[in-house]
Amino acid sequence: MARVLIIAQHEDGALNPATAKTLAGAKGLGIADIDIAVFAESGAGVAQQASRLDGVTRVLMIEHADFAHPTAARIAPEIKALADDYSHILGPSTTFGRDLMPRAAALIGVGQVSDVQEVLDSHTFKRPIYAGNAIVTVKAPADQTVVATIRSASYSAAAEGDSACEVETREAAASDPGHTRFVNLETGGGDGPDLQTADRVVSGGRAMGSSEGFDVIYSFAKKLGAAVGASRAAVDAGYVPNELQVGQTGKIIAPELYFAIGISGAIQHLTGIKDAGTIVAINKDAEAPIFEVADYGLVGDLFEIVPELEKLI
């Protein structure tokens, strides 16, 4: 039976926007029945939010104390237990989905299609390889469950509809294997918009020179209402925490407006921003590769240009 299951990602009692983007990708399958599974310690709020998303048939709410900090080892067997009722099981291509979904796929005994950027039909997908330097078309076998992650940057979040679908409560099917324990989560904090979903992002690179140098970026981003990002070089140098990294091995983002400041534009960084609407580059080196992809460029000293921009907007 053709039926889709989406594994919800949520934090602090709210659905992560990547879930609604996964739903947007699922709609391309041409399958009417789309369920969302919410695994949570206390999931009513998240389940209600999911039930209002346009195009969802049913929300499955599975509550258990173990799901307060869900690990792949704990959740994957739960997905396996639901799998018989579904032709497709999808998750977001966030670190949550990347950690969890392959474990579930292996338990089900099927390969996984990672980072789907386009759905051609129910079993044919496009996805990037080689840091986005090539796009492949992949066909999954018709007689097996399709497990896939949806590349968040390729889709706009499915909207909330006028009505809510049914929320069905299910019991957890598996038990804690006991071998994997959550210790803690350190977040860099920050009071700005979320990097993954922001409409505007200002990123700084190695040329910021220090953590203090990055204050120019934070200040400009605040004025713009933008999220702050960074190149790998800036993270490696310790100017900013790792969760700000944009690129092949960091976050893949698609803001309407992206500022690359003091970033030369290594291919691995460009991979993370190629779906951005408009790219502005500011760099003192006129030959920097970032200018090959930027819509607008300014060549000069970023420590003069950025504060000037901040005054002008």
């Binding site: 390969g111 996984q112 840091a131 999954a140 092949q248």
Partner: protein, 248 residues
């Protein structure tokens, strides 16, 4: 304790990969090949664990044609004690790779299997997680810090929200992120020494693993290119342009 480190031969990180004009694949003819960078980081961490006295042996393994013995020799030159080459000329997808590594685990009984978090060719990021599932053991993916004590590993993971720490019982599967360490450079005497280290070959067929590809890749195409825009003269001009486009 023994640490098993699967490594993959991939097109070097610095090569700008191009799609073949007939769409049948990417150009790999005459292109520099290397150990997948994340696997090299995994190997470096395994070697540091051994050097700290927390492991007795580091074994590298790889699946592929004869050519991948170059990368296994590099792994031996970095300091691995021995190598296992699972020989096949057919490309192996992540689930099949996980099934193959599980066979090696049954032979070797490692305390840690340390992989890279993804291969930079197909960017799947699946094999470690799949192996942990089939082995029914813990996984700690995207590791940026690993501390071992008394049969457990405390692993700091790079996740979207920041840094998550998990404690896992060994044996376990770990996968490395970029900032776990900086791999050592290989010195010439080590390359000479590596030639004498054991490298066992096992034919894939002898492992009795279902390794056929499940997913069929039907086409390759180059990505849509973004064309470069304009260099502007002043901050004021930029603000005007962005306002005209309704972006400010």
């Amino acid at each position: 304790m023994k640490i098993l480190v699967p490594i993959k031969r991939v097109v070097d990180y610095n090569v700008r990969v191009r799609v073949k004009s007939d769409g049948s694949g990417v150009e790999t003819e005459g292109v520099k090949m290397s150990i997948n960078p994340f696997d090299e980081i995994a190997l470096e961490e395994a070697l540091r664990i051994k050097e700290a006295g927390n492991a007795e042996e580091v074994v590298v393994c790889s699946i592929g044609s004869k050519d991948c013995q170059q990368q296994l020799r590099t792994g031996l030159a970095m300091g691995a004690d021995r190598a296992i080459h699972v020989v096949t000329d057919t490309a192996v997808q992540p689930l099949a790779a996980a099934r193959i590594f599980l066979k090696l685990i049954e032979k070797e009984s490692p305390g840690i299997v340390f992989l890279g978090k993804q291969a930079i060719d197909d960017d799947n990021s699946q094999t470690g997680q799949m192996l942990a599932a089939l082995w029914d053991r813990p996984q700690a993916t995207f590791a940026s810090k690993v501390e071992l004590s008394d049969g457990t590993a405390k692993v700091t993971r790079e996740v979207d929200a920041g840094l998550e720490t998990l404690e896992v019982d060994l044996p376990a599967v770990l996968t490395s992120d970029l900032r776990l360490n900086e791999p050592r450079f290989v010195k010439l005497p080590d390359i000479m020494k590596a030639k004498r280290k054991p490298l066992d070959e096992i034919a894939l067929d002898d492992l009795g693993v279902e390794a056929a590809a499940q997913l069929e890749v039907t086409a390759h195409e180059p990505p849509p290119t973004r064309s470069g825009g304009r260099i502007l003269e002043s901050a004021q001009e930029l603000v005007d342009e962005l306002k005209n486009k309704g972006l400010l």
